[in-house]
Symmetry: C2
Subunit: 221 residues, 2 copies
């Protein structure tokens, strides 16, 4: 076979390969679309397993910890959904003290994902709260301004199109002990109202619109 013929065969092969990959992509998309937008329900408590590979993106579970490796749980699914954020994460959570969830949020912030957090005024200062660590890292956190009201939501919006919502507070007890639920969906009819609610709370709790307290400066943190 001459060099010219070889090049022709290689060229045609490359084109066939690219077309094949594109066709497979198209087929996968069609199959996914026919099932409708993502809908997933997770229940807790979730068994303790190693989730190190989700943070480090290693595929061969190099972690030497004594926890089971390579096991998918409700908690690892939740982590995967959170870590899938590429542009933004809007989080509205009553109580946040879970170390690994905090690590995930800090990692997203480090990757350049725009993270916004709205939380409860009282619960953000309890022992073990991760809100201080988020603020220290430069993540913008706002809290419910009214003293008489609890910001009791527990939802997150990933890239403005994936909603994670349920009964689960971001605490170790909730994840490992309690009977809890979470729903993950990309159904636009469900995602849109939560987006609007987040924006409403974000603006309503802007410290710039509230007078600083006379007793301490916490209100403007």
């Amino acid at each position: 076979m001459s060099f010219k013929e070889l090049m022709k065969v290689l060229g045609l092969g490359a084109v066939a390969f690219v077309l094949g990959v594109e066709w497979l992509n198209w087929l996968t998309r069609r199959l996914r679309d026919s099932r409708g937008p993502l809908k997933e329900v997770l229940f807790f408590p979730s068994p303790q397993v190693c989730v190190e590979h989700l943070f480090t993106r290693h595929t061969h579970f190099p972690c030497a910890c004594p926890l089971p490796h390579g096991v998918e749980t409700s908690f690892s699914r939740l982590l995967r959904h959170l870590l899938s954020a590429r542009l933004s994460l809007d989080l509205c959570v009553f109580s946040f003290s879970h170390m690994e969830l905090s690590r995930a949020i800090l990692l997203l912030h480090k990757r350049g994902v725009v993270v916004r957090v709205v939380t409860d005024r009282d619960y953000m200062t309890i022992t073990g709260s991760q809100i201080g660590a988020l603020r220290k890292a430069g993540i913008c956190v706002r809290h419910e301004m009214s003293k008489a009201v609890h910001m009791h939501h527990k939802f997150a919006l990933v890239d403005g199109r994936k909603l994670i919502t349920g009964s689960l507070n971001w605490t170790l007890t909730a994840v490992q002990s309690n009977k809890e639920n979470i729903m993950v969906t990309e159904e636009p009819e469900l995602v849109r109202p939560y987006q609007q609610e987040f924006q409403k709370l974000w603006e309503a709790n802007d410290p710039a619109n509230h007078k600083p307290q006379t007793t301490n400066g916490q209100q403007n943190r």
Copy 2:
């Protein structure tokens, strides 16, 4: 026009009327189906309005209370969804002290709707809890058996096909003060897992499968 002719015209008119109504029904069903299963999101706090007409089924708001009448709110929508139960209501709620929600559950029970409740062991005995009133009326209530675990769900299944779930506990503070959310959906992919979870909890907390406590008899209530 003879009597025979008159009867013919009336008969044809009746047939045309019935066919017209059936066609309108079909059209409405088609339009509803094209929008997919019910998906509704409700946010709280909900303003205080009169909901008496939802219990008494009076259409002209005969109530003389000083609250606004004829206004639809998140709470009245929640009540409507609950009171739409015809066959069964499965309720899984952490804290239940709201008087009007209790009234709604008691009314459903009185109407012959099969009501089952799973609740939290500690929170069912707090001041104002409505769990005692439900049990007194003959409603079957089971509670989380483990002392170390909270049954933190807040979801309900109406007739096994409508799911109501979110952050909202069934308390006055949650409804009237807190920032809370509820999602109401008939999407089978979302309803089914909650049905299975309810059944799992119902069976796991069957007092017949647990030894009675030595300190008191609460475990078998």
